[in-house]
Symmetry: C2
Subunit: 648 residues, 2 copies
């Protein structure tokens, strides 16, 4: 332990404290905060309250001749000639002094390790003729250092910072504080902050929404299998971390708040689902005296208002399709509309054709034959590897598919070639919209299964085509899409005789279908709506049930739930609940799609790994039995389990 | 179950949906969102996206003659003549039609229960001459109803809404959604939202702070006895809900984020401490390349910028006193400076006086005699009840006190009367600043104990005086105060030979005391600072240790902590950590003091009770052993414990 080492550092801190106000006299400590604010706005707000006079990234030719003080990290050093200094705002080249009189200063700067933190004072000068770097926004100038100080030296890092991006994600998460220094993560987090701020301005300042914080220590919801539990000091009693503020936002409407929003932390324990985080953030919105179209308009305005300029223009209104159309044309309720390859119904072609296995399928109740046409499929698709992918994709559907390759010479390669007449062949191509060079994929069965299989194949074939260089989707396009008219109830998984809510039990039925609620609830559409971006669900909401009797009927008679657990909500609905509805946007996903990140982990400062672990601090971790006894719980090790601390 | 009942309601919803856009033609659905935004800004943004054309509270004489559509709650009905309709924005009087042709409309409005939700369309008219209500902002006008619709009827509530405020707090929390309709809670929550929005504008838009969300499922901190645990699916492994984002914000600085803020949800399990909530919110701020004075300036500007106009002007800069001064003059580290009654040292008076018990105390090492002078104490204080209070207050200090009543006739009532000479008496009055009519309270012992006892008595006497009508503190004053130069370490509770951090182990030592770190760490002051408002701590922060070796020394050598648990932080400090510091403001407390609420529960939408219960939903609650088995835990009932579900 080296005492003088940090004693001298403490002294430096003391000295550095005198640099708080910019040395160029622009701001005096005696000025009051109003003046400071005006000044901050006028000058670009980057220098306030800190040692530096400028950020590294803001210097330009206009600053030539000025004396500046900068703070930052040593990004790069070339021999004994210059250092590249980095801060959050960018890079700047620092020229080391070559005079004999500055030998000590030069030595300090030459000895310092990369990623050490220094402050330098010097003069902005023009780079010598012909040496400007057009790839660097500060490339016209450099700073000739006059004095410098090492604020903190860095150990030799286990890898170079700029290499970290190429390292495994586990290593990046273990050293997340180094990963955060990358320009990509800096950009992602700053863009996130900026977009959220714009959303707040739109909701709070322009539309009178009230930002209300709701509790995260709450009661377990009926059937809340994915809710984390939090033991309390009352024996056997647990809080639950809610999956969304759904109940609270409805209660706020009953309480007359009129317009609520919150950037809400939510929790979902899904074990190890890929690209899910145990905690996530949603833009949570609820309004009274409103209908579906109004909420959609509000959200379109919200996205437009918060959309970053550098990502192009958003066109309003967003297109809208029904759930039935989405399933029929794309085989999925969150279609990627950046490309075609829609599902088409070709049942009529095969109704009388001599293809027994397809005719048999059509003979079943609701039986259909449907297809997608893969453009240029003959040229680009269907290597052995492609087959392997495709089989993997459709396997979960247990669905047989038939292929027709429309070869350039006009002939077919398919088991159907000899079974169809020429007229039937051209009729099939017409119905399916297939052209020479395409591959036609057909499947038969009930519509839901056929659509689901073709929907997955559509996406898989798009990925394969793109991997082979076909320009199919515009990766700079942002295709927002509303999906509406979802079913209110779905057959329960595992027990299809019973119904469960397609979304949640508070969703209001579609007014046109209300007459079916008592007789055929499975046919009732809901007032639920999803917002989809490039094939990803980024939001969902609904008009809620505001009538106590209807809510009670749905819970007790349709869903067979124990209404006692939601008694407070039923009582609230019966106490003057206004008509209301809302929406929640998945912020992590929206930002990831906006910046083009492949994972939401790239837009979260400290994400968890696949298995829900924090690889930096090694959470979750063991807790002593004594500490657990406060909460009246003990660990029950599962039989045959071993310790498992290394995997992530 | 009455089918037609809600079927007809659903139809009404459908009808109501056509009211979405204001009927007065000001806005057409075809307009794009940019136009809407401009319009929203121009018109005051209260009518958008909803059925209504105006809010109840915004109508004035200028609207006379206009047809308006309003939505709201039936607040009050007088015979068959009028209804008072309420929404979040205020109250408006609705005149019922008396014509025979409108008999059905009249009947609907006469039959409706209080707190039902209705929409009415009618014409704004002037109130008859002499009938204007000057106590109502809409009191010059009323609305003559032309059509109306019941959107939702309310059951007969267990109490009248306006009476709820007089009910027990338990009842208010059980029916929180009704309590939220009160104008006071509406004001509190809206002011909170407004102030937080202004803070965000100041930090984000004016000063370049980045809003970063940090995880709440984290690793247990060493000695984190007040952290809730969250079982994970890994047997025996637990997350912890952090008490603050302290580690994360420092890691963000190491990651080069430069300026971080977050309106952060924090968790603290303190059992049943009064006026604490298991979850609370802090404005969390951290900056790089900064010193203490800069952060204080930043925060002063933040408070000024976000301060609500209706609460008067804030004067900057805030006064600042050292911890030592605060303890010496007020006996507490969060002084209420709205009144005097400061502690004075009167040791010199008694050094030679013939008062043996005081002279003996002065003979002890560090022994002192100190006093406070209670103005008008002779007139207003010291009934039997006052004595009881005072004894209760000082009892925890185990401190004897002596009283001197300076009676109007110039005589003393005190055990000291006969022990002091006239000269000593007047010297005591001079030293203590006591006047005729005051009561002087004296105590002797070591300075810490004496100050602590007098500090408590000072506050208690102020409360007693105010309860008797003496105007002591200005309850419209907002006395902000910095307390600085706290000790870095304190003797450990229960083991005074060892040291513990006065705040947390990441606090940097005061540069002037750095030389004492190895020799006399107990004498080192810190770079910690507290922000105090009217005697309440509303924030605290510090310059942090950015040097790995110093941090390691503090943790291992001074505090005897297991550094292994903070290895990730030590590694981060050794990887190029910039000098940094920050602060956290307790938002709940700040808002409560701003609005003058007696409890933070009045500025939280859904607070927990004293015992941490949600009285509306009855959380925490039992969870089945099957559900707990996912998390490999089981409940261990404490011996002799019974069920306890009713208390709160």
């Amino acid at each position: 332990y080296n005492r003088t080492f940090w004693d001298s550092k403490l002294e430096r801190q003391q000295v550095a404290a005198q640099f708080v106000w910019p040395a160029d006299g622009r701001v005096q400590p005696a000025q009051d905060s109003k003046q400071l604010l005006n000044h901050a706005v006028a000058t670009g707000k980057k220098v306030f309250f800190v040692f530096r006079t400028h950020t590294c990234g803001e210097l330009r030719a206009v600053h030539i001749g000025q004396e500046v003080t900068l703070c930052g990290w040593v990004q790069y050093r070339r021999q004994d000639l210059f250092i590249v200094l980095r801060d959050f705002d960018g890079l700047i080249q620092i020229i080391l002094p070559q005079e004999e009189t500055a030998a000590q200063l030069k030595k300090i700067l030459c000895d310092i390790s990369l990623e050490s933190v220094i402050t330098v004072t010097g003069t902005v000068i023009s780079r010598p003729s012909g040496q400007a770097n057009p790839n660097m926004v500060t490339g016209e100038i450099e700073v000739r250092v006059q004095s410098a100080e090492v604020l903190n030296s860095s150990r030799k890092l286990p890898f170079e910072t700029k290499e970290l991006v190429k390292k495994s994600e586990a290593l990046r998460m273990r050293y997340r504080y180094l990963d955060l220094r990358s320009s990509q993560l800096q950009y992602n987090l700053r863009l996130r902050s900026r977009m959220v701020m714009r959303m707040r301005e739109y909701l709070c300042n322009l539309h009178g929404f009230v930002d209300v914080e709701t509790p995260t220590l709450f009661k377990r919801t009926p059937g809340g299998a994915k809710e984390f539990v939090v033991p309390s000091r009352e024996p056997g009693k647990f809080y639950s971390l809610p999956q969304s503020p759904q109940q609270f936002k409805q209660l706020l409407m009953v309480g007359g708040l009129d317009r609520y929003f919150q950037v809400a932390r939510c929790y979902r324990d899904e074990g190890s689902k890929p690209d899910r985080q145990p905690e996530f953030t949603q833009i949570d919105i609820e309004m009274s005296f409103v209908n579906q179209a109004s909420i959609q308009k509000l959200i379109e305005g919200l996205i437009e208002y918060s959309w970053p300029e550098e990502k192009g223009t958003i066109t309003l209104p967003f297109p809208s399709i029904t759930y039935a159309e989405a399933m029929g044309s794309y085989g999925v309720d969150k279609p990627d509309t950046r490309f075609g390859m829609k599902i088409t119904d070709v049942s009529e072609v095969f109704r009388d054709a001599d293809v027994s296995f397809l005719r048999d399928a059509l003979g079943q109740p609701c039986g259909v034959v449907r297809s997608i046409s893969v453009p240029k499929g003959n040229q680009y698709i269907f290597t052995i590897e492609d087959w392997f992918f495709i089989v993997t994709v459709i396997n979960p559907c247990q669905q047989d598919v038939t292929f027709v390759t429309l070869q350039p010479d006009g002939t077919w390669k398919s088991v159907l070639t000899k079974l169809l007449t020429d007229g039937e062949k051209s009729e099939l191509c017409r119905a399916a919209g297939a052209r020479v060079g395409d591959v036609l994929i057909l499947t038969a069965g009930d519509p839901n299964t056929a659509n689901a299989a073709l929907g997955k194949l559509r996406l898989e074939c798009a990925t394969i085509l793109e991997s082979k260089g076909v320009a199919l989707r515009d990766h700079n396009a942002f295709n927002f899409l509303w999906v509406v008219d979802f079913p209110l109830f779905l057959p329960k998984e595992g027990n299809p005789e019973e119904l469960e809510s397609a979304h949640h039990p508070f969703t209001a039925p579609h007014p046109e279908d209300a007459y079916l609620m008592c007789t055929e609830p499975q046919k009732v559409r809901s007032q639920h709506y999803d917002l989809v971006l490039n094939g990803n669900e980024i939001g969902g909401g609904s008009i809620r049930i505001h009538d106590m009797e209807l809510q009670h009927y749905v819970l007790e008679t349709v869903l067979k739930e124990d209404t006692g657990l939601l008694l407070h909500l039923l009582e609230a609905l019966d106490s003057g609940a206004p008509p209301h509805g809302g929406i929640a946007l998945g912020l992590d996903r929206l930002i990831a799609l906006t910046v083009g990140a492949s994972s939401i982990r790239d837009v979260i400062a400290f994400p968890k790994s696949f298995r829900g672990r924090d690889l930096m601090s090694n959470a979750p971790d063991l807790v002593s039995p004594e500490e657990l006894s406060t909460y009246h719980i003990q660990v029950s090790q599962p039989a045959g389990s071993g310790e498992d601390t290394t995997q992530s």
